[in-house]
Symmetry: D2
Subunit: 329 residues, 4 copies
């Protein structure tokens, strides 16, 4: 007679994997975390201590985990290289799938996931993009019509310098952004603080310009040398107005007046800024799986992002930055 | 083999009652809402539609609800006049209790609840004060030591003009604040917008000054005539700095640049500003009931607030505005 | 054939006196500083060095200074005790007069200046109130009509703790404010940081409430213990909106993002905040003397401020805080 | 025995010319505007009404104006095409020179002015760059050392859409900026709002990236389609911090709380934002001419800006955006 809850498993228990697992365990009331998969001994140890006592089964084999009795959905937070393979296996096993982005760094492989999902329309298959679930980014979309057709889009993703290597994926995000495009793209990358990054084909400051049809363009700036904290900004510029998301970053509503002036702290990192969006994502994915309602973003976009096709414009980018797929759906 | 969840019932399904009930139903993973009580036919109808399908039992008799099999905790969101009586009944029935504030408008009646709770130290009895669970208010407390001993405290609770009568309890909050005190209190009340409120012994603008020992004082401003939205501010002033909570109110991180300037929207009402604090409160109350750990604020404070005793100072007020009971515990 | 310039003298060369003298010397193109008066040897030495080389005559006798050939106007920045006497002498000598506030701490003496000025309507006699010449305060007045009839007025004058004694006059400002009134006034004064101030009948934190007819009131807060810098705020609350002047103080438009967060510096003191208003005052006074046009505020207000008469309301206070005397004129 | 004042003439009385003339007439106490030149009948009419009554002589021949008895300095605000020729003539006539930017659109012609000035080292020759005299931009320079060596520079110059053609020069500013450089420059221009601008080889949105040696770069954004008002931003990013000038634009310190939220107005145009900087420029130029002290920026920079030489870096740009020439001098 209990309320129906979604039986879900989490593959991967690295930094983000742990966060997803705990979100589904503790903060997604309609979901029930029943199983996890990790090939890593340290992660397994963590799971023994934190998850086993609350009745979560631990697997070191992904295929076995998929066979957990009654399993309905899988969250894939493993390394990028296996996102697609694991997603397709889960789809074939008739499980709903949430995969962290990107599906793959290959257009063809990404498309294979889209095709697999298309063959099972009763399944919900979602590739995560946290800003699409961020309250402020969504709120911005509500104001887009009043400012008129957007002609310039500017985005800044700026991390604190972090020696742990965690910030590498964010450097990738710009590369992804520039790959989106079309008539013309410019990408400038610099190792201003850490020349050593060059060895790893990485940089600490990137700026990219993406030109669209109809005299429109987007400008992206990515950095990993912020001293003050995480600071992501989105700007959408139209002839009747401009929207700014997070122009004035803050970790809380507290302002400290002290010798030196008025000070406001920033989120310490990406997850402190967007953690609640990840939670919203978990709850909305769960609700869609249980109720069969449409997901707020389409899987095809995750493949499009890599496809380099020439038919996309600022609408697509808006959608990537918090908007619902109101046009596609 | 399922995870242990707290079986909880909710008494009262008015505006705030519904919110509490839904918070425990949907957004407090370690709690399970099993029963509700309401004497009101309209509220009962709502519960039939929203709660019965998800296995919540509806009672029109509070005492019967207390006998729900396995019930562990009760949330009391009925009218103020019965908070104390229902709390004591629940305590006597060996249930954990969360009561909305105030326990009572009588010092003696409030103290009776405190005494009943003291007789059952294994029970968790909490009187809600949402700011104590607000992330920003809590963050302010972290900065109190650096600014030196606070000597001036200023608080503003400002609502939108609302013809539904919902704002009446907030006018009460200042009265409560001024009653707190001690050597001297000044209270000035005005019906600037709605002279008709006088009939109901109510006002729309209040300012109160509370004087403490040691040359310290607090200044409270309450209003219900804000045009822009909900705007509560807390200021704590010490010799080495000042803390401001919510000096720049906002509903999201979006800023709209449009003809006329730059605009930022405000929370539409008290619940939009503090809704997440209510949810934190539900989760922390649940955790304390399940784990036996101390609650973040003490029941005695809810009686103290009315007692007019002369031994309180700015520390007590800080505690009421988001701080942990770090001294008492 | 040169352009006509106003021949002006400055009485008093203390901290503010030097500022007024230099404003008229260097930054008021239509004025020509021709003479100064000071009884103080140190100030005289300063004048020898700074003013004599640019053709300013120095007097140690106020009456002699008044006889400077062709003198047209006098700026009085001496100690409060002689403001009125020196103003009246200057009026009788047929000179335009600018006196720093207050005219006197006595209602009768202040009125005597008003009467002397009334007897010589061709003269311009102005008692300084710097906020009346502040661009932001003036701009606020433009927004008053849209917010509806103001019912609550809040003002904060907060200085840095300054051991030089300079801040004493600001404690007086609240006293003056509360004296303005009428049906009822409450004044609470505290020595939170410097108990020693009590010996000098002075305080470091003041809060005053002034009640008006028609359910309106004003709340004033004065402090001299700001750690971050000068922070004066004015708030005007009406049923359709609220105006805030300087809610977010800043010395320039620079924001520093650094470890610890985003920081904005504050003006270091009252003069850094309102220095440009003093300059505007010098230029507008000069223009009025040369052209015969009305001054932007009336002398009578400077006496009213002390009179305790019962016919004033929020309109008067608005006027004191930056508005033109649009009703009186 | 009057104080020495600088006898100055103004060439050109268009929109900016009138502003310069009035600044020297009314708001630059140590200067005396003695003559103006304009070939335009409408401007002449204006000068007859506004300047002749205050003893300013009007010329329709530039060479004759240069012969005004006792003339010491000339302000050149004519069309760009004649800036250089008129500057050289004034230098040859032994007058100090202030020329609006640019000296010329030709490197060679600009260099000729620099050479003419170098031949007369007793003369002050200044090419105006208003941000160098802006209080906030100057204040930013004070914070540059603490943030470490700047590696990324971002600048935004955004105007309101203005059908009068006034905004055309601002589109040029980016072109100028991109010409500055060196190893590599990218420039993207768009007519998002006004396709018709293409006919005039003009655009309404520009973005340019300038790459420097040592992994540094600058990103410029220019627009003329702001709905909210003038909004120029400067950002300087170093490894220990970031400086933002004017991230939160405002015309005054007033915030309006009204239905819809909190609103802050913006400066209506470039001159409302930087008008005080123009005045500071007038006063500092005058002081330098009278006293022989160095000007705050060097003439050579105005030619460098066009030279495309490869030896410049972020230091040069910082200097263009408000810094003193602390390295050169």
């Amino acid at each position: 007679m209990a309320v129906k809850r979604l039986k879900i498993a989490c593959a991967g228990l690295g930094r983000m994997g742990k966060r997803h697992a705990l979100n589904y365990l503790d903060r997604t009331p309609r979901a029930q975390l029943v199983a996890v998969f990790t090939p890593d001994p340290v992660e397994t140890e963590w799971a023994r201590k934190e998850l086993e006592p609350v009745c979560v089964t631990i697997y070191s084999d992904y295929d076995e985990m998929l066979q957990f009795p009654g399993l309905e959905a899988v969250v894939i937070v493993t390394v990028t290289a296996v996102h697609a393979e694991q997603s397709i296996k889960a789809i074939n096993a008739d499980r709903h799938v949430f995969s962290e982005k990107p599906l793959s760094t290959s257009v063809e492989v990404s498309q294979a996931v889209v095709d697999a999902a298309a063959a099972k329309p009763h399944l919900k298959v979602l590739c995560g993009f946290s800003r699409r679930f961020d309250k402020s980014s969504r709120d911005a979309f509500r104001h887009v019509d009043p400012i008129g057709p957007p002609s310039v889009f500017r985005s800044q993703t700026c991390d604190v310098l972090d020696p742990s290597g965690f910030s590498v994926p964010y450097a990738e995000c710009l590369a992804a952004a520039s790959l989106w495009t079309t008539p013309s793209t410019t990408l400038i990358s610099r190792c201003a603080v850490e020349p050593g990054l060059r060895k790893h084909k990485d940089v600490d400051n990137d700026v990219g310009i993406v030109e669209f049809w109809n005299d429109k363009f987007a400008c992206f700036f990515c950095s990993r040398m912020m001293a003050a904290g995480q600071h992501d900004i989105t700007e959408i510029l139209g002839p009747k107005g401009k929207l700014v998301v997070n122009g004035n970053p803050m970790s809380t509503l507290v302002e400290v007046h002290e010798p030196g002036g008025v000070r406001r702290e920033l989120p310490a990192n990406y997850y402190e800024r967007f953690g609640y969006a990840f939670l919203t994502m978990a709850n909305e994915f769960t609700a869609a799986c249980l109720s069969g309602t449409p997901l707020p973003l389409k899987l095809a976009g995750a493949a499009k992002a890599l496809s380099g096709g020439c038919k996309y414009g600022t609408e697509d980018i808006l959608r990537q930055h918090g908007a619902s797929d109101r046009i596609d759906q």
